[in-house]
Symmetry: C2
């Protein structure tokens, strides 16, 4: 059976991959990498560990992948590997958090694969480390979500909000309900930017960004 | 100023540290490691990367650390480092999730330190990877908590429950409210155990365990 190893490539810095991820990338011959309209963030992250592996790009337009996108990618992977071959699939962040890899592999299956997954540092974890923020302490709760709908009542002590397309209404909700927050773009990369001022945040528009919020003390 | 680098050592397997964590441990001379009543999980994880570094153990009895515990640890770190020295503090999992490191460093400060943090793979992320579970998909929410209080109304699509001391009442709540779940002990270690059967889970009693739950489909 063909085998595919999903690797979480983390937030973007090449040295934030795990040792196991690096060893696996160095040992395998075929690397599948997502292409998001010409941006190849996962592949850029692992570039220092590539030598003569074969790279196969798979189209995943961010936020617009459909069942057909996943089926096409599975077909390409299947055809790119011989029986009993192993390939690596690069997934930004971690494969269990808003991921491409498990969405792709859990779809309706025309092909059978052995699956292994190697974890990566999720972007919100990298962001909390950079901001030196204790996201969640004993007895507290943390909620992850991709977007905050209007009129949401926030019931957790802390939030990681992984998309910032509704930034202004999200900040309104956080302000009204008593949360401190920080904004980060390109966590761990050269162009990393951390903002704590609301007005500065509202000037930005970048899809590699997220918000972290914590209920104000007292 | 003295500098302390907090390193997330991940779930326990030595090759699930990040490349940056390993390089930092190999380059520094003084390593501070938590001792939980004779168990030194973070130190065990980094053992393959130790040569002649000085190891200083700090007592943190799991779940019973007080302001005094943290103050004593800070005093020991301060006294173990000369002015302008750097030390490494090992934190199991990641330093932003129910962590020792930021609790310790954010306390009332008698001493000033420069602080840097290197992220680690949180245990619930390792668990989801092992179970090949897509914790949270587009439009969904994931909540982290350490314990589920009785009569809790579960409002997220998925949960990571990091302590299993109230296992039976927690499973009752998950069953009643329509969640699938998996239990894991020692994620990524040799004695790793994954259970999906409720009765099997109830026979276990292990503090290095957690639950992952997802709302049933349809």
């Amino acid at each position: 059976m063909r085998k595919i190893i999903g690797i979480g490539t983390g937030p973007g810095a090449s040295d934030l991959l795990t040792v196991r991820a690096v060893q696996t990338i160095e040992n395998e011959d075929v690397i599948f990498a997502p292409n998001n309209r010409g941006k190849n963030m996962a592949l850029d992250t692992v570039r220092p560990y590539l030598q003569d592996q074969k790279i196969v790009m798979l189209d995943f337009p961010m936020g617009q992948s459909t069942d057909e996108t996943y089926q096409k990618a599975r077909d390409t992977i299947y055809e790119s590997l011989a029986e009993d071959d192993t390939g690596v699939f690069l997934n930004i962040g971690d494969s269990s958090i808003y991921s491409t890899f498990l969405n792709m592999m859990n779809g309706e299956e025309n092909h059978k694969f052995d699956i292994e997954i190697i974890p990566g540092i999720p972007s919100f974890i990298a962001a909390a480390n950079i901001m030196q923020m204790n996201l969640v302490k004993k007895g507290e709760t943390l909620m992850l979500l991709d977007e905050v709908a209007e009129d949401t009542e926030l019931t957790a002590d802390a939030f990681a909000i992984l998309k910032t397309s509704k930034l202004e209404s999200t900040l309104d909700i956080l302000d009204a309900q008593g949360y401190d927050y920080g904004y980060i773009e390109y966590a761990s990369l050269e162009n990393e930017l951390v903002l704590t001022d609301r007005e500065e945040m509202l000037k930005r528009k970048n899809y590699i960004s997220l918000l972290i919020a914590r209920k104000k003390q007292g």
